[in-house]
């Protein structure tokens, strides 16, 4: 006989926090990828590269600033079995 179905517990906050960390880990990867891109551009003047690099730079800083407040908070007490 089947047991009555338990409401599935989703640690929503913990899950979000984990994905936030994943995002934080991803930021430098995105930055590095974008910074390497100009190397493969058809050789032109240095001008567009300068503008592009500054834009990437600003984007990366913006992303980091966006994520930082969420990451700053200390871990809530861990619930057992709440692995990724």
């Amino acid at each position: 006989m089947r047991r009555p179905r338990q409401p599935l517990f989703l640690a929503r906050a913990t899950y979000r926090r984990r994905r936030l960390r994943d995002a934080a880990r991803l930021v430098p990867v995105v930055g590095a990828f974008l910074l390497v891109l100009p190397l493969f551009w058809a050789q032109g003047g240095a001008g567009p590269v300068v503008v592009f690099v500054f834009l990437v730079w600003a984007l990366v800083i913006g992303l980091a600033a966006l994520l930082a407040p969420g990451l700053e908070q200390p871990d809530p007490p861990q619930n057992p079995g709440g692995d990724d």
Binding site: V27, A32, L35, G45, A46, V50, V51, G62, A64, A68
Partner: protein
């Protein structure tokens, strides 16, 4: 602008910095840190990454190679926005382990090895010296820019003396605020607040100059962007190798540079500040870089061709009559240089004093741990190190003459310090990283860096002969400094970074994989790699048991930590639920204390110091071995106890047996006494009776003769009895005189059989012998041996009940011993009596039958003992059986 005003304002600025630092220290001491503890100050303090190299050099770098200068700031940006990867862990470990410098971190991670600390310190000093020289040079150059239109006179700054003054002033500042006190966390609030202020000054200065250039000279940002897009200078082409390589190098440097490590990890007050810095510091760098290219472009356009591009930040406003702006720019540059030198010097001095000077001092004067004022010693070491580091920088500047371009020097320093990266990252992410690997990697990387970049930087023929550049050392062309393994096509800088880091990492991995770390190293490795794992910290290497008294420990701690020690002890005691200042020496407490001491001394020294005080109560390999052998000893001891116990059980059993025998013997003794009186009495009674009859007189002659014969017989019997007793006592005392000689065994048996035939001659008795085996010559006392044989044969004749009685005499000769078995076909002797038959007066059957005193076998046993042999009852032969064992050749000594 008058040079005097410049010097004066510079002087005022310095006093202002001193005041700020002093204010910071005071606030910190009073505990009202408030603003000082904010993430903003932390972020601003990180700006010492931007040294005079950035302030002046970046414009020069931008003018020479365009966008490439940005790599130096993009690398740190990636590291900071990716703080969740490395920085978070680094800062966490740094705070957890109370790390005092990068050398301390490496040393602590690899089993608190001071050798590694020394190695990293050495690399740091070698790499940083040119960098410090660079800062002194930039200050000197900036003074020179202002002084160029001055008349020759006392006010003209002679370059070298300017550098000397600057170095002296910096030494004073650093000593004042860097060694004011020994802090458990090695934090310098005064210095941090001062460099935060300087960070603002240099940013404001650069932005001000940039704004002036963009809006004042170039005609707005749009025009600047247009101009940049139009520019097509030959050096401005993007070089893929250098672009990627330099981003990676600067990313490594921002973690490894001693001064960056100092502000990033050591001076960190709250780990959460890193979250703010993760975007705010890249933003600062962004702001610093924003105006570099415009200044460089406008400078190239407007300034004479021979202008030093490194000084354009100053010369551009000066050339356009903006004295105040130039003044601000000068202060910005001055701030950049001084803040870098101060922090770098503090970091290097901490490393030098903790890993080189103090261990040396403690080694030379081991008693110092107990006696001298350690605080004084440490502070003195620190101050001397500061002077030493600044002296080195000044010396390098004097020697090199400040000729090289600023950017080149900075990159060389970066590449040198980056050699620590494999050991650092491996240490915090890979438990398998070992000390041997770290040492090998560091040495390999450092040597490669020195050979391919550092030494060549002095120019051809300066250190390395041009010959070697062209053909390699000893003609080994694959070792050419700028073309290792024939890679001549690479850019020299990238070539060096590529090879030094590759070989470094290879040696690090090989050494780690092939070596076996000791226990301390493995525990530290686990603690570092699992820094966020609370459980892993529980099993951290701790002080297990100690002999040190809490007083002695407090005494030591007070000499290093000062008042803080007392507070700490008190708090710990309270936490343990005790009143007063002296907590129990729990492992947790000692570990915490060691960490605090490590904050002042470095992990290795603190560990060594507590070890000394504790008389090696720490867990070293030797101790683990000792513990292991102790366990082995305990096991051995218990095994021995067990053995003892079985032995005791055996002894007890033997004792019981002996006791039984004694009881029996005591019974026998009583029997003996009654026996002997009986034995003596029977003949005596008949002698007395018959002698009385004889004294009556009137007896016929044949009766007298008869009676006389009886008396004679009885007297003979008495004599025999007494002879036997005497014989036995002589034999028992070992005082018997043996008459050794060669005797033929068969003859001896013949003699014995003949004599024994007198016993119960009426019986039918057959002796079975094998004469061929009796052909043995013995060296023994023949008469005594015959006596034994007689006894045994007579016994058989007396007691063997079988009819016909048969005695078999079996002889065996083996390994120098001869056994003679007398086996009859009677009933034998019961088991319980076998132990008794050799006792005196032991007669199993009734006396009449025996006719002897019961001394025979006892005498036999004693004789055989004297002849070096035995006589024993041989069970399991159906009938009674006795085995006589004796040596073939009896030596006199055995007698």
């Amino acid at each position: 602008m008058p040079f005097d005003i410049l010097v004066l304002s510079c002087f005022v600025y310095v006093i202002f910095l001193f005041a700020i630092a002093f204010f910071g220290e005071r606030r910190a001491e009073l505990g009202g840190m408030g603003f000082l503890r904010s993430p903003t100050v932390y972020t601003l303090s990180l700006s010492i990454y931007c040294t005079a190299w950035t302030f002046y050099g970046a414009v020069g770098y931008g003018a020479r190679s365009g966008i490439e200068f940005m790599t130096i700031y993009l690398g740190p940006t990636l590291v900071f926005v990716g703080w969740w990867w490395v920085l978070r862990k680094l800062v966490h470990i740094g705070r957890q382990q109370r790390v005092t410098s990068i050398a301390d971190l490496i040393s602590s991670r690899y089993g608190k090895s001071n050798g590694l600390g020394v190695l990293v310190t050495l690399i740091a000093v070698v790499a940083a010296t040119p960098y410090i020289a660079l800062q002194l040079q930039s200050v000197t150059l900036s003074f020179a820019v202002f002084a160029s239109d001055q008349p020759v006179g006392w006010a003209t700054p002679i370059r070298a003396s300017t550098a000397l003054w600057v170095a002296g002033g910096l030494a004073l500042f650093t000593i004042l605020f860097g060694t004011r006190r020994l802090d458990a966390k090695e934090q310098h609030h005064g210095i941090v607040i001062a460099i935060a202020v300087e960070a603002v000054v240099k940013l404001v200065a650069l932005v001000a100059v940039g704004s002036f250039v963009v809006w004042g000279l170039a005609g707005g940002p749009g025009a600047v962007i247009d101009r940049i897009e139009a520019v097509n200078l030959p050096g401005w082409q993007l070089q893929p190798g250098r672009w990627v390589g330099l981003i990676a190098l600067s990313a490594a440097a921002v973690i490894c540079l001693p001064r960056m490590f100092q502000v990033l990890v050591v001076e960190n007050i709250d780990e959460r500040h890193l979250a703010r810095a993760s975007w705010a510091f890249p933003l600062y760098l962004f702001a610093m870089c924003l105006f570099i290219l415009p200044i460089a472009m406008v400078g190239l356009e407007r300034m004479p061709a021979d202008t030093n591009p490194d000084m354009m930040v100053l010369t551009l406003p000066l050339a356009h009559g903006q004295g105040a702006l130039a003044m601000l720019a000068f202060l910005g540059g001055f701030s950049s240089a001084t803040s870098m030198v101060i922090v770098e010097t503090v970091a290097l001095a901490t490393m030098l004093s903790n890993h080189v000077v103090m261990p040396l001092w403690l080694r030379l004067r081991p008693e110092a741990t107990q006696s001298a004022d350690l605080r004084g010693g440490i502070l003195l070491a620190r101050r001397l190190s500061i002077i030493g580091v600044l002296g080195l920088g000044l010396g390098y500047y004097r020697v090199s003459g400040g000729s090289a371009a600023l950017a080149a020097m900075g990159l060389i320093a970066f590449a040198g310090m980056a050699q620590v990266l494999p050991a650092l990252l491996g240490g915090i992410f890979w438990r398998g990283a070992s000390r041997v690997g770290a040492i090998l990697g560091l040495i390999t990387g450092f040597a490669t860096w020195a050979w391919t970049l550092f030494l060549p930087s002095f120019g051809q023929d300066a250190v390395i002969p041009a010959q070697v550049f062209a053909h390699g050392p000893f003609g080994l062309s694959w070792l050419r400094p700028e073309a290792l393994f024939g890679t001549a096509a690479m850019d020299p800088l990238i070539h060096s970074i590529f090879w030094s880091l590759t070989l470094n990492a290879a040696a690090f991995f090989a050494g780690s994989i092939l070596s076996f770390p000791d226990p301390v190293e493995r525990i530290q490795g686990a603690a570092f790699v699992n820094a966020f794992d609370a459980e892993a910290q529980g099993g951290r290497l701790g002080w297990t048991h100690g002999q040190a008294e809490p007083e002695a420990l407090l005494n030591l701690a007070q000499r290093i930590l000062g008042e803080e020690a007392l507070t700490f002890f008190e708090a710990e005691a309270r936490a343990q639920g005790k009143e007063g200042y002296l907590p129990d020496m729990t492992p947790a407490f000692l570990t915490e204390l060691e960490r605090r001491l490590a904050g002042s001394l470095g992990a290795a020294t603190a560990h060594a110091m507590i070890s000394q005080l504790f008389g090696r109560a720490t867990v070293t390999v030797e101790d683990l071995m000792a513990v292991a052998s102790e366990a082995a000893q305990i096991a051995e001891y218990s095994a021995r106890l067990e053995a003892n116990q079985t032995e005791l059980t055996r002894t007890a059993r033997q004792l019981r047996e002996v006791n039984e025998k004694l009881t029996q013997l005591s019974v026998q003794k009583d029997a003996f006494l009654s026996q002997i009186s009986h034995e003596l009495r029977t003949p005596m009674t008949s002698i007395r009776a018959f002698s009385e009859i004889l004294t009556e007189g009137d007896l016929p002659a044949p009766q007298v003769a008869d009676y006389g014969r009886i008396i004679h017989e009885e007297a003979k019997r008495l004599t025999r009895l007494l002879d036997d007793l005497l014989d036995l006592s002589v034999l028992e005392n070992g005082a018997v005189q043996l008459n050794l000689g060669l005797a033929h065994l068969g003859e001896l048996l013949d003699r014995a059989a003949a004599v024994a035939s007198q016993t119960r001659p009426d019986r039918a008795f057959r002796i079975e012998r094998d004469v061929t085996v009796e052909e043995i010559y013995l060296r023994t006392d023949a008469d005594r041996l015959v006596q034994v044989f007689i006894n045994l044969i007579s016994n058989a004749r007396k007691y063997c009940e079988a009819d016909p009685a048969l005695l078999r005499i079996a002889i065996r000769h083996r390994a120098g011993r001869v056994t003679v078995d007398f086996i009859d076909n009677g009933r034998g002797i019961s088991k319980e009596n076998q132990a008794l038959i050799f006792e005196k007066f032991a007669r199993l059957t009734d006396q009449t039958k025996a006719g002897g005193a019961g001394l025979g076998l006892a005498i036999c046993r004693e004789i055989m003992a004297n002849l070096g042999g035995t006589v024993a009852y041989l069970p399991g032969q159906r009938g009674a059986a006795f085995r006589v064992t004796l040596p073939l050749r009896l030596e006199r000594s055995a007698a």
